[in-house]
């Protein structure tokens, strides 16, 4: 099982790659559109802000490559900002995003302290999903923006200071996790294994 980890210069991929290998995957780190476009299973990581991230994906041709892979049936997992980019738009930098999932990313203004940084509970919602097999669990978050209502795409939710947001999403073969699975110890590893085993051809 090979996963293509999209490298668009978003930040360090070392720990994410190591976690994927621990989960049992071969990993190809790719910054070229051709490799990304032909991937059957890919991950879009991300740290930092939505605006510059989308601009970079566009400029490098990687946005088109990701769309092409998804159109050809690839399984996609967006992590952290990578989850946010799956939606229509983000209030952060007023950024149009990939639009694979309907909804808008907003600042988590109800939280007492931002960034929402630290461990928090991830609770499954909706019908059981392979990615949620290890839930409920505690995972590590570091973000100030989130989707608060992903509708039927919501697979898991998390609460901070009384505000519930979507911490995992999946619709078709497109999925996302708002937390850092590579920094979430056993719970994160479990989720990554779930991504590797995820197949809708059951």
């Amino acid at each position: 099982m090979t996963v293509v980890l999209v490298d668009y210069g978003s930040g360090n991929l070392r720990s994410l790659r190591a976690a994927m290998e621990r989960a049992g995957s071969d990993v190809t780190v790719a910054d070229d559109p051709a490799t990304v476009a032909s991937a059957k299973r890919l991950m879009v990581p991300g740290q930092g802000a939505a605006g510059p991230t989308m601009a970079t994906l566009r400029r490098t041709g990687l946005e088109r490559a990701i769309r092409s892979a998804v159109a050809d049936g690839a399984y996609l997992l967006g992590v952290c900002v990578g989850l946010q980019l799956l939606f229509d738009a983000s209030a952060e930098d007023d950024t149009p995003c990939l639009g694979f999932l309907p909804g808008r990313v907003e600042r988590l203004d109800g939280a007492a302290r931002l960034p929402h940084m630290g461990w928090n509970d991830v609770e499954p919602v909706g019908p059981p999903h392979p990615l949620a097999a290890g839930l409920p669990a505690c995972a590590y978050f570091a973000h100030s923006y989130a989707v608060t209502d992903a509708g039927p795409a919501a697979v898991a939710e998390t609460e901070v200071d009384g505000v519930r947001f979507t911490s995992m999403v999946a619709a078709g073969r497109v999925a996302g996790a708002q937390f850092h699975p590579e920094r979430s110890a056993g719970a994160g590893l479990e989720m990554l294994r779930g991504f590797l085993q995820w197949s809708d051809a059951a």
Binding site: P115, W119, N120, A142, H143
Partner: protein
């Protein structure tokens, strides 16, 4: 969830295996501070940070002696999840803006060493040894305004005293900023950690109580759970 962090890998022999050990014991994050290295050992240091990125599966913050944006960049590129800057930021506050803009606030921790002086507390530099005229609480507000995503606050009054964290200092800073605040300096045991978390800190950092084998991470977390604090 509140966090219990282990600090000071520097004194641990092999810092990477120490980090792995504490992570396995349930430490929520690892802070590797006082990494100050001369140019010769900078490469060795980065190699160790790279190993930690691969072998540790909880967040790792690295800092202490970070002087320039390129140090921050190199540490993040090596795999540190967050980089802590202290004296360099106090001397040149623009460094906070520069690093936050380049790398994102969520990976920039500003560490503040504070000691009672004047009307409140004064920020210190050089490992907390040298006093400045800068008001520590005001500096905390400024650091966050410039982009710090988290503050690591060490009281020079309580550090090493085993009397508990400086809850007055922490309270003043918690009232001033809306980013997570990590308490540091003074913990003798689980109750002190629980006190800091109950007072509103997002995490508490301890070193010697774990390093000396006096308490385990689990014992500290159990004490916090008994106080009704949400713990992983």
């Amino acid at each position: 969830m509140k966090g219990v962090n282990f600090v000071n890998l520097r004194d641990c022999g092999d810092p990477v295996s120490a980090a792995v050990r504490y992570a396995e014991q349930g430490a929520d994050e690892i802070c590797w501070l006082n990494i100050t290295a001369d140019d010769e050992s900078w490469r060795d240091l980065l190699a160790q940070v790279e190993r930690a990125a691969v072998e540790v599966d909880v967040p790792v913050t690295v800092g202490g002696g970070v002087k320039e944006e390129r140090h921050v960049r190199d540490l993040l590129a090596a795999g540190a999840d967050k980089v802590s800057i202290n004296s360099a930021a106090l001397r040149d506050p623009g460094l906070v803006d520069e690093c936050a803009a380049a790398h994102g606030s969520q990976c920039i921790v500003v560490a503040i060493d504070a000691k009672r002086g004047g009307e409140g507390w004064r920020a210190h530099v050089a490992g907390g040894r040298v006093a400045t005229e800068v008001d520590a609480v005001a500096w905390a507000g400024e650091a966050v305004a410039r982009g710090a995503g988290e503050l690591l606050v060490t009281s020079m009054d309580t550090d090493g005293t085993k009397q508990g964290y400086a809850l007055d200092l922490l309270g003043a800073i918690l009232d001033t900023v809306t980013v997570p605040v990590i308490a540091s300096g003074g913990a003798a045991g689980p109750e002190h950690v629980a006190d800091a978390l109950a007072a509103g800190c997002s995490a508490a950092l301890a070193a010697s109580i774990f390093h000396d084998g006096t308490y385990t991470v689990e014992e500290v977390k159990d004490a916090c759970r008994s106080r009704g604090l949400p713990m992983r």
